[in-house]
Symmetry: C2
Subunit: 319 residues, 2 copies
Amino acid sequence: MSANKELIENLFKANRRSVARSISIVENDNSDSSALLKKIHSNIGQAYRIGITGPPGAGKSTITNQLTKHYRKLNKKVGIIAVDPTSPFTGGALLGDRIRMNEIGIDEGVFIRSMATRGSLGGLSKKAIDASDVLDAAGFDLIILETVGVGQSELDIAQAADTTIVVLVPESGDSVQAMKAGLMEIADFFVLNKSDRPGSEQAIASLQTILMMKDHDEKTWMPKIIKTIASENKGILEIAGEIERHKTFMNENNFFIQKRESQTKIRIKEIVESKIRKQIWSESGEKFLNSSLEKVVLGDLSPYYIAEEIILDFINRNN
Amino acid sequence: MSANKELIENLFKANRRSVARSISIVENDNSDSSALLKKIHSNIGQAYRIGITGPPGAGKSTITNQLTKHYRKLNKKVGIIAVDPTSPFTGGALLGDRIRMNEIGIDEGVFIRSMATRGSLGGLSKKAIDASDVLDAAGFDLIILETVGVGQSELDIAQAADTTIVVLVPESGDSVQAMKAGLMEIADFFVLNKSDRPGSEQAIASLQTILMMKDHDEKTWMPKIIKTIASENKGILEIAGEIERHKTFMNENNFFIQKRESQTKIRIKEIVESKIRKQIWSESGEKFLNSSLEKVVLGDLSPYYIAEEIILDFINRNN
């Protein structure tokens, strides 16, 4: 598969097979992928990106599905990238996909791609963001990036959105206390799903306490907490309304430029590191590594010594 | 803090403050860290390393604590590295540590270090393995690497052990079906904890079905499933027995050399990538990146173009 002219022309026309092929190309993360992404770069920036993250079982897929149905009624085209690196434990991605496909997957105005990548060589957030660019170039109005919030890479994905939603459930109540600044800072607003369960009010109270501790004035966006019962479609309109309110706030204050600059920074860093990884382990690096293993295991050489040799070799090769 | 001679001498004498300081040095992951690890390399290899992984809430810390008490009765010194990158959601690391400290933390023959690292710049498995080397050099007989199995980095840590235990609970039953090869392959044996709960027998049956599907003959290690109720100290002796049986099997078949070579390979790769990351973003890389952000956000240049420029600059700088 190469990033040929025809593919890109069909991608711009939102041809489904071309969208799927283009995402496969960026997932392969090779020179074809870079070429494709360079060619579509001037055609992106029109889609609005929504990040949805939270612990396993909080109901992120249900919210994504309901929100998608809502946007379809408004005739908006919705692209979904669902990332679940925990799926080998929870089965979440597999099950979720099947339900999803039945509900919204057959709609021509919806495109869903799952990325469950345990065992991949990393670069998960890079690939998810590249895939969003493909959907953006294909003319999807809204792109939902849904990720289980359990690692830095998933937080990176959530942060790549224009509006980031953190979904919790009443049972997360205790753990709210333990939340670190990182998570509090990425949420543009919180959704307390399954809010008919016991503990709901306490969960909201403790979230509010933490939120109050943040410095804020009139010019600061103050994250709200929205109660939902997504399985009964309760609170979905409120989520959509809050996304709209956040978008307006960001536009009025020219905050999107700042946000996109910091997102771009994270993204370029990941591209650089991914490219270097590929180059370093391509041929001679891997060979040299294999030939050195025995000496390290026997205690003759430190792994740190071998690492330095490999880096020197990589630099010399590139001259 | 530098890796001076006095520190290393005291580390070899298992001086607690020197152990703690040395781990802090390897956590900083700078040139002092490389120097320290090179100096201690010839003194490591005596400790037996046990990896314990599994989903949040499976009871990994309870098993670690009970196993530690068991080994202390045999007068073995135990070092524990507990890694929980999910702690901002679950609060696990915080709570677990407090209980742990009360139970075993005051024992001179036990050293516990937690690494809960959301927001760190990655390199988590590298740091955890480096910290194990410090404990190894300090003369701990057993090192337990306890990690929540939710990402590649945690699997890497579990794989860095001589014996790797995957802990599940009856509730994980369904999800066993969804387990991917990666997780099945790292388990030297399984522990079904909280085995008095409903669903226990079904969970074991489905695990066994999956295990039977693996190719095996007399020379292959066949992972068993051990039932425990760790909170009541039931099944802990069986875990210790199975670790011993695995150790004997590996020694008799000379499998440790192979295992350590493949572990060393993963480890050197991570060291190389961590060092390059540091070098590339040190000064001019970061500066160049910051000056290019606007052009990318405005759509003039692709992030892939900027990434290539940064790599070229890094290579030129190193000549």
